[in-house]
Symmetry: C2
Subunit: 482 residues, 2 copies
């Protein structure tokens, strides 16, 4: 709706500006309109992108002052360009990525600079002809070794940029040392300007509309679990509808949301990597158990593979139903619905960083398990003669997959409980479960400001638009003031 009115608005703007475009061929005009539409959508879907762009502009202007102010320029000279360069390459979208790159760059420059000064002195000892040969040998050795180190998976994940900058600094300073005798001054200036550039980036990215990779990861995992829940909640209905009345033309987009979960692994991993660089923020402490999110993410993906298989049965041709099949389908529907509810409970709890209401969640899981037992006894007790087995194969497959989904759901629930206790999530059912109140007490000691206002604690920090705009609207902040 909103999208439509925007494009209407834009259409009128372009209609008014028509004389300007008269000379342009129709095709180009259409392309420009399309581009403008896409640009506006990109900004609207995620206003933090606009903020980020402005922040980069601001940071660049701040470091430009090193050039504009005479006293600053006299101190740094052309080395001021390192500050500009640092801002351009270090300023990333999230605080974690920026901090990680900044720290990598700072330490690598320090180490590379120190070693290159040493290499330069060693090379100087070997006379005028020997010097470039020695320098070349050092640069080769260092570059080859460091490049190889970049292939180690652990280094690649967290320190790739540091090794790159180490190679860069070492090569630059040791080689330019051949023509410039003030090599220590060179290294000092490079380090100082890089520190200035890096600090500007980090400070701006933390102070102005910070984008926390940790929070994004947290929300991504919650929304992924919510998407699985949405599918399972809807699956039962949709499945029976399909097999009964043929295809209906309702909005089934919520049934396709889970697809993004199938391929979110690399996204989760990079967010977790960035999150590990971040200081404590909002409800997350510095050593928040980010790896546990990856574990939950993996379990959610395993569940999503089963769901993808289930999804295949939504579009099978309709078979005339029999009483037996109907009974089984009813039980399947209940299993699916209860799993969906449990997953959505968990998603809400994660989103609110509260202890999942294990009473509720467990009830749903228990319900789905007892439905599975019902299914078993139903299958045992009944005889399968009144209908052909052929039509029952897909039903049996769905039942079997759902039994696995129940299993997955239980595993996800367990790992979410684990996360909640590792990260001392707020307990909001202290009166129900006495052992949870201990966890709450422990938490209270560490963050006393939050004791008296659990409602505030579980309000998600603004701004928290859903990740890349495809968030699941039923798991939003506003639902969460439990």
């Amino acid at each position: 709706m909103d999208m439509e009115s925007t494009s209407l608005e834009k259409a009128t703007v372009f209609a008014r500006a028509r004389p300007l475009f008269k000379g342009l061929p129709e095709k180009l005009k259409a392309k420009v309109v399309e581009l403008a539409r896409k640009t506006i959508k990109l900004g609207k879907d995620e206003p933090r992108r606009v903020a980020h762009s402005l922040k980069v502009g601001l940071a660049l202007n701040l470091v430009s002052l090193l050039y504009y102010f005479r006293p600053l320029y006299d101190n740094f000279g052309v080395s001021a360009m390192w500050a500009v360069m640092t801002v351009v390459v270090v300023f990333e979208y999230s605080v974690g990525a920026t901090l990680g790159k900044g720290l990598n760059r700072g330490f690598a420059t320090l180490l590379g600079g120190a070693l290159s000064v040493g290499a330069h002195h060693l090379a100087c000892l070997s006379g005028e002809i020997g010097e470039p040969i020695m320098l070349g040998f050092f640069v080769f050795l260092q570059a080859a070794a460091s490049t190889f180190i970049r292939f180690f998976p652990k280094i690649k994940a967290r320190y790739d940029y540091a090794v790159l900058i180490f190679i860069l600094t070492f090569s630059l300073i040791s080689v330019s040392g051949f023509r410039d005798d003030e090599i220590i001054e060179l290294a000092r200036r490079r380090l100082l300007t890089i520190l200035i550039g890096g600090s500007v980036c980090v400070i701006i990215s933390i102070l102005i509309c910070p984008v926390w990779a940790g929070l994004d990861l947290h929300n991504l995992i919650a929304s992924n679990i919510g998407k699985l829940g949405n599918f399972l909640e809807g699956f039962g209905d949709e499945y029976i509808k399909t097999s009964k009345a043929g295809e209906s033309e309702d909005d089934k987009s919520f049934l396709q949301q889970y697809k993004s979960v199938l391929t979110s692994k690399s996204n989760e991993e990079s967010l977790a990597n960035f999150a590990k660089w971040e200081p404590g923020h909002g409800r997350f402490k510095f050593r928040h158990p980010w790896n546990q999110y990856l574990k939950i993410g993996t379990l959610a993906r395993q569940c999503a593979y089963r769901i993808d298989a289930l999804n295949g049965y939504l579009n099978t041709e309709i078979q005339p139903s029999s009483e037996m099949r109907y009974k089984i389908e009813e039980v399947c529907k209940e299993m699916s619905l209860e799993c969906g509810k449990a997953l959505k409970e968990l998603a809400l709890a994660i989103k609110a960083t509260s202890q999942p209401s294990s009473a509720n969640t467990n009830t749903h899981i228990e319900n789905s398990k007892s439905a599975a037992k019902n299914l078993n006894s139903l299958l045992k007790s009944s005889v399968w003669e009144d209908t052909d087995f052929l039509a029952a194969v897909p039903v049996a497959a769905v039942a079997s997959l759902l039994i696995e989904v129940v299993d997955c759901t239980e595993k996800i629930a367990e790992s979410v409980y684990e996360l909640a206790s590792m990260a001392n999530f707020k307990s909001i059912e202290a009166t129900v479960l006495p052992e949870k109140s201990q966890i709450r007490q422990r938490d209270d000691v560490k963050s006393p400001a939050k004791v008296d206002c659990p409602h505030v604690c579980i309000t998600v920090n603004e701004p928290t638009p859903a990740i890349s705009g495809n968030g699941n609207p039923s798991v939003t902040t506003r639902n969460l003031e439990l």
Copy 2:
């Protein structure tokens, strides 16, 4: 075996060197040994990594000559450092990535330089006080707009680095122009040294042990399909074994290979992106249909999701078998086996860039389809009273999933045929299928050198070790001289 003898060898080396390590605490010693072991493994798994490291060292030394030789240094001065920097940041593992980064960097520097010179002149018109304000305004505008452009998915995929370098060059040159009047000379030197650095990278990466992203993508897709084939070939046996005789302790690692297919999406996408930058090489022309590989990859992943669901049934508890179940299991085994064979045929054909022997492949697919039909009639004809339905549910689920796998296999086969005809793969059955010979003729016209030696054409270029060392040994180069 090979691994063991290596570690034995290394153990003796370290035993001889023991006196050197005497002073070190045991823990540190163990860590060093472990690190050395890992390093050797990393290099052995993929010797191209070692070659890459040496290539980077060589390239850095080549551009260092700009400093060492007086005449060259007189021409470029400190700008020579841009060449060093370019080598460090542009030299990537594959030719495609290096070329892509080099071209991005070159064009972005040209454009950024030109625009910044313009901005500098405009700013100069506004007087001494106005100049920094105007410059700041331009830098802000340009940085914010360009940063926002980086969020467009298409730009991010292929031109992200170009936009980054555009921001960098524009900011650097326009801002340093404030203190340096020879701004055009500055821009010219920066462009020239970047071109030198970029050319050195590209030339070395193409001439010395080139790593073609396109070939890697090609092999990755082939090996992924082969992995699915391996699973399906083994599944039937393994499934019946499990449900008959309990778990056996054979090497079942080939049954787990398919897992890497589940998460290879991002790897495939980045390889395809790099491959698009690459010139024609070996059996691949410049406009090779790389996107078709992504399509095949997506289908293979869909198949892998089903296979992951199937894999769940390998570890279910054993149920006493009935005659009916036994019959169904036999048919399932055949379906799985035939699909596996078809996929392995396809994998071999892709690996050899030959037209898949559609006679063979289709035979396997037809076999698996007729097995599916057998299953149907078996289910229709039989009555399911002699056993309880409960035990039949997993069997039905497996059967149902296998029917979907047959469907996936057919789709994969179709898209591989499509690839083969788009890319004019060699036909090696021209006598069997007359319509294929036309394709061969077309191909012959374009690459006449290959006409008389189809055996040479389908030999995989050396060196082609399997991707990141986890290749499937049954789909190697040596099998492919068909």
